[in-house]
Amino acid sequence: DQQVKQNSPSLSVQEGRISILNCDYTNSMFDYFLWYKKYPAEGPTFLISISSIKDKNEDGRFTVFLNKSAKHLSLHIVPSQPGDSAVYFCAASEENRDDKIIFGKGTRLHILP
């Protein structure tokens, strides 16, 4: 049973335009959400997170939106740059629990020149 779903395996966006990566979750106990970026042959690196008490968190070119009623979150990257080409993982957890963070399968983002 997949608790965190990224239904788009890949996405291609023109350089300079907005990239929107989507994520859905099923566990209503999740209250903390994260996005990670991964290049080939490297470990994922943390990008941005959001707690369920917020509906938006912004950090530079990256903004995460959370819609709790729809159990949906999205990552917006604007403007998209060539270095943004990577696999993006959505993850969720129950805040302050010390066991596991659940990851989605990832979306491969291609930034086109």
């Binding site: 990670y36 042959a41 943390f46 997170s49 596991k100 659940i102 399968k105």
Partner: protein
Amino acid sequence: SQTIHQWPATLVQPVGSPLSLECTVEGTSNPNLYWYRQAAGRGLQLLFYSVGIGQISSEVPQNLSASRPQDRQFILSSKKLLLSDSGFYLCAWRAYNEQFFGPGTRLTVL
């Protein structure tokens, strides 16, 4: 600052051979430690996690095992590798609500 080490970086092993991947963390004490595998089309699959020495939780039944002999050491093992064990293995530790990953080990089973 905290650092996470994994070795080896790459490994090619024949089917049926044993496996030992090591992960160590510096700069923190009593971390929660995790082993993930990234296989083609499978995303990040949680294999094991540990909240303390000798405490291992298994997420996926398979021919792999994990051990935590020391506070900052996490080992992934197998007695006999299968072809399906090929993948990119990542160790991670958790601080509060964020998780930090090591550089990974690329395992190819032939």
